[in-house]
């Protein structure tokens, strides 16, 4: 479903080249829950941007559902992000001028759905994250945990098959963090592919598979027998 083949991302910083990714190959199967872990600056976010078709690699190829990303046009990439991928960012990335429900509707607007269809799907998504009573609140009127829940609602409103979460609990207290993780588990059990980026081993342990990355290279890739039930509780 997601296949990365020898992905390199090199930033030219004046005299020196920064190898953010230095030849990463990774295969993520459908319905997998993968945690990508590594120290700060190891290239985790860069990797997620590749998987999410937000960035183009300097070298290598990325396939999503068997289609090579480098062969796709900008509009096809936009549609792919819109339909197949739900992003959850560490900094929520909500539009501050829009209400919770308008933020959740946004991907549906770009899909071209009618107002009625959008409202229905957005409400459904907000209900799942337990924010049906806050649909008209602006992000600034919500707590960090609530904002992250809105961003999860936005990611799942368009019913994507892949959820990409880049340190979704990074800015939250532990209680809100546990709630968010629970939602990711739920999404996974419903059949979504979940890719979770973190530098916290305790969170990574909740995944089925842990990929460790360091200096732009995968240093270990292990099945995680310690399943969620023990780790999360």
């Amino acid at each position: 479903m997601i296949r990365l083949e020898n992905i390199k991302k090199i930033y030219h910083m004046g005299e020196t080249d920064v190898h953010a990714l230095d030849g990463v190959s990774l295969h993520i199967k459908p319905h997998e829950f993968v945690a990508i872990i590594g120290p700060s600056g190891s290239g985790k976010s860069t990797l997620m941007n590749m998987i999410g078709c937000l960035d183009v690699p300097t070298d290598g190829e990325c396939w999503i559902d068997g289609v090579a990303v480098s062969k796709m046009r900008d509009n096809q990439l936009a549609d792919l992000r819109n339909r197949k991928i739900g992003f959850i960012f560490q900094q929520y990335n909500l539009l501050s001028k829009l209400s919770a429900i308008e933020n959740v509707e946004l991907p549906l607007i770009y899909r071209g759905l009618s107002q009625a269809e959008r409202t229905e799907l957005a409400k459904e998504a907000l209900k799942r994250v337990g924010l049906l009573d806050k649909i008209n609140h602006k992000p600034s009127e919500l707590s960090g945990g609530q904002q992250q829940r809105v961003s999860i609602a936005r990611a799942l409103s368009s019913k994507p098959s892949i959820i990409l979460a880049d340190e979704p609990t990074g800015a939250l207290d532990s209680k809100s963090g546990i709630e968010i993780m629970q939602m990711l588990h739920e999404l996974h059990s419903e059949g979504n592919t979940v890719v979770l980026i973190t530098h916290d081993l305790n969170i990574a342990k909740q995944a089925e598979r842990i990929v460790t990355i360091k200096d732009g290279l995968i240093v270990s890739d292990t099945e995680n027998k310690n399943d969620r039930n023990e780790a999360s509780l």
Binding site: L54, D55, N75, R81, N93, K97, P107, Y110, R111, G112
Partner: protein, 395 residues
């Protein structure tokens, strides 16, 4: 269907963004508002003035042709009977003719004594010059044949000498001769001494004897209809040229010729005013481009988020383009309303004529919307072509 839903959505988003930043939107629109309102105002004044002037000239009669032989050094004249015959021989061109003499006379009644302008003609003058009387009658053919000492007076004389009472049947002295008042002109100005209401009109035959003026220097002719005015003018010209044996020593003018010239000049003036106003509109457009450019760089992160969740390049392009078009179209609409609203104010304050030019309303609205497209396209393209990851990283 999808396309219209998206456009509709873009309009909503743009309105949100415009209303979400009212002060800035207002400042952005200001340039367009000033530009459009000055277009409406200036062309309104131009059009109003043109209409007022042409109306005034037209009221003098669009079929009227004036022949003047009273040139300095000119001693020749054309006999009234000869010209009458010529006019009668050409009924397809002319419908009427009258002689015209003008001068100054000393009017006197009892102890009152003042100068008044005097003119003289015959009974045809009444219809050729659209004379309006408030009482009595105009000079008749009989008056002319008999060189009668009768006079039609202006309202200044009625007011000054008769205290506003109807003076028909009364007598006044002009240059020492006793004249019987037979009619009173309608007021044309304000009945004051220096206005057109201080005047008297007598039969031309009486005037020729009385002013010791043996020749008629001016004739008024009336063309059969508006379409033959030009032909009638050249026909009269050739008649006088034949009589005078020369092209000089007389002039033939018609109101339609004057109106054509006036319209041309005023049209040029209006175009010039519109040009000046258009420049201010373009300056307003540059203001829109400025703000849109700032708006794009301020909202880089927003653009990144939108792209990350599936906005296409065209979606972002449309969003910003529609925003700039809406900004300038709203500015244009406000400008039109301001222009129309200020028209009557300018009219009364500066004593100028004002008539809203509907074509200019449409043109300036379309122009301001076009300015939104033209000056919005560069910032919108910049926004649309942002790379999603670069945009997301911005702060």
């Amino acid at each position: 269907m999808k396309f219209f839903a998206k456009i509709n959505q873009s309009v909503k988003m743009a309105m949100k963004s415009i209303l979400g930043n009212k002060a800035r939107s207002a400042l952005t629109m200001l340039g367009i508002v000033i530009g459009v309102s000055s277009v409406i105002l200036l062309t309104g004044i131009g059009g109003g003035t043109t209409k007022a002037i042409t109306d005034q000239i037209s009221s003098m009669g669009t079929k009227l042709i004036t022949v003047n032989t009273n040139r300095r050094g000119s001693t020749r004249s054309v006999d009234y009977d000869d010209l009458s015959e010529y006019v009668e021989d050409n009924p397809e061109l002319f419908s009427n003719l009258c002689p015209y003499i003008s001068g100054i006379a000393q009017a006197k009644l009892g102890s009152e004594n003042f100068q008044t302008s005097l003119d003289a003609s015959d009974e045809q003058y009444e219809s050729i010059k659209n004379v309006e009387l408030i009482s009595g009658r105009f000079i008749s053919e009989f008056d002319c044949e008999n060189r009668a000492y009768v006079v039609v007076v202006g309202t200044y004389i009625q007011r000054e000498l008769f205290g506003g009472m109807n003076p028909v049947g009364e007598y006044i002295k002009l240059n020492g001769k006793q004249f019987k008042i037979i009619g009173v002109y309608d007021e044309t100005a304000d009945s004051t001494k220096n206005s057109q209401d201080n005047k008297v009109t007598i039969p031309y035959t009486t005037a020729m004897r009385f002013l010791k003026n043996k020749k008629i220097s001016t004739y008024y002719l009336e063309a059969k209809n508006e379409d033959v005015v030009d032909m009638a003018v050249s026909s009269v010209k050739s008649f006088f040229a034949r009589k005078f044996g020369s092209d000089s020593g007389f002039s033939v003018t018609s109101v339609s010729v004057i109106i054509d010239t006036m319209n041309e000049i005023l049209g040029m003036m209006t175009t010039m005013l519109a040009g000046i106003a258009a420049i201010s509109l373009i300056v307003g457009g540059i203001g829109v481009m400025n703000i849109m450019t700032v708006s794009v760089s301020e909202r880089t992160r927003e653009i990144g988020i939108r792209k990350a969740i599936g906005a296409r390049t065209t979606d972002i392009l449309m969003q910003f383009l529609i925003e700039s078009v809406l900004l300038s179209a709203i500015g244009g609409t406000i400008g039109i309303l301001v222009g129309i609203g200020l028209g009557p104010v300018v009219k009364s304050l500066l004593n100028l004529e004002f008539a809203v030019q509907m074509n200019m309303v449409i043109i300036s609205f379309a122009f301001s919307a076009a300015i939104g497209v033209f000056f919005g396209i560069a910032p919108a393209k910049k926004a649309a072509n942002l790379h999603p990851i670069d945009a997301l990283r911005a702060d």
